[in-house]
């Protein structure tokens, strides 16, 4: 019993040590830099314009284009990095802007409808 108890005690100690390591392992990330906060942004398509027509955000943020116009539109990056395809009236499309830097975009149907996104 004692021997068995000793084994049991040793096992508890080893288990306890494991918990310490586990706690330490869990605690370490808490001291690491916080994960960036991701924001969701909204751009309204109305009057054959993007509103706002320029938007500054953090790389990794999401953007949703909402079409409140009478006609279909697209949100198409000038460098081809992203393209919504057709967004019918009363519909929306979202993407994550991953790449930092300024990005010009336009409606693929209406060349006078242009916008800018600047990702920090």
């Amino acid at each position: 019993m004692r021997r068995g108890g000793s084994i049991a005690t040793g096992a508890r100690l080893r288990a306890g040590a494991g918990c310490v390591w586990l706690i330490a392992a869990v605690a370490v990330p808490a001291c690491a830099p916080r994960a960036p906060v991701v924001h969701a942004h909204r751009i309204v398509m109305h009057g054959v314009k993007f509103d706002p027509d320029s938007l500054v955000l953090a790389a990794g943020d999401s953007v949703t284009w909402v079409n409140h116009d009478l006609v279909p539109h697209t949100a198409t990056a000038a460098d081809g990095g992203w393209n919504s395809g057709t967004i019918p009236p009363d519909s929306s499309w979202s993407t994550v802007i991953a790449r930092p830097g300024p990005q010009a975009y336009a409606c693929g149907f209406h060349p006078t409808m242009r916008g800018w996104i600047v990702a920090r």
């Binding site: 009057g47 009478l70 006609v71 209406h110 060349p111 006078t112």
Partner: protein, 203 residues
Amino acid sequence: MNARTRLIRLVAMSLLLLGAAVIGTSCSSKSTETASNTPPPESTATAAPALSDANIAAIVLAANDADIANGKQALGKSKDADVKSFAQLMVTDHAATNDKAKALATKLSLTPEDNETSNGIKAQQDSVRATLKDKTGADFNKAYVDNEVSYHETVLGAIDQALIPNAQNPELKQLLTDTRPVVAAHLDHAKQIQAKLSGTAAK
């Protein structure tokens, strides 16, 4: 066309517009960049001809139908990528606008009532397409785009001076207000292609 003939046609077109017999044809476009996105002044309401909401609904449908037909003709005849792209846009956008207008008319139990203006639009644009039917290549492209510029200029004028001021129902007035920037964007787009076809586009 010399300058005098062009002026006469412009004046005639303006009178037709004010008399609610819309749509000029081949008048060469003059740049009205600043006017495209400027809301109509409130004071024009008193000078506009009296049109009922049923008249206005018929004019909207006729104007959209005419440009859809123009666009379909261009899709069948032109091989120019810019012209075909624009023509497809006209078919898509004017069909979408017509869908909204028809849905609103149904909602309001408004039966479109043909009138001198709506009939004038149909007759005028039928005549333009008959003329364009015999043109090919660059001649067709130029004539089609020139007509699209003058047509959208005229429709924009009609929206500002006749349709919005006379619309009584707030939802119909809002539909016209929402349609205006679409027509203005089409006009700017048509002017860009017109400049490109004539070799005067900004490099």
